[in-house]
Symmetry: C2
Subunit: 111 residues, 2 copies
Amino acid sequence: MPETEPAHPAHPALGFEEVVHQRARLAVLAVLAEAGEADFGFLKSTLGLTDGNLGRHLAVLAEAGLVRQRKDTEGRRPRTWVTITGQGRSALAAELAGMRALLARLDPHGG
Amino acid sequence: MPETEPAHPAHPALGFEEVVHQRARLAVLAVLAEAGEADFGFLKSTLGLTDGNLGRHLAVLAEAGLVRQRKDTEGRRPRTWVTITGQGRSALAAELAGMRALLARLDPHGG
């Protein structure tokens, strides 16, 4: 069960949604936002995750409607393709907006 | 045991350190970076966390040398003060730099 701290807009650091903000899931959404679609093997190697780890994170993202998974076969090899959904792109955009708000507050002259 | 994905600079989303990036811990460091020092009660109410939750996150942050805790009493009431360390400020700065890198990559014209 992900931690369910109340959304607490008082501080931008608390505006992040755990399902998106968690490091590996954020990386999956970021790669998919660029690639549109990627297969499981590509995500695994690009992000340096294990099968189990990536599988669990994809299940959380799919459960939240942020990615879709489909299976096909290449020759006799089964392949799993992962696509970011419109909802996934919006959730990632909200995460990035939260990062911008936090940067504006903590490091207004940075970068 | 926090997830120990290998640091994988290939994608900026994977450059975050879990001990800092985790939502509640990030919020604690952000509030302390602004306030310098705050007492347990203030952190708890400002961030909307439970005693147990905040206590666990502070233990992880203290273990990593990012915050220091000290106890004193006000009247007969024990109080716990939490201070961000120099290492804590650097770790937060690295997190913000990672956010900036991710924004530059995914949303170069945003904000």
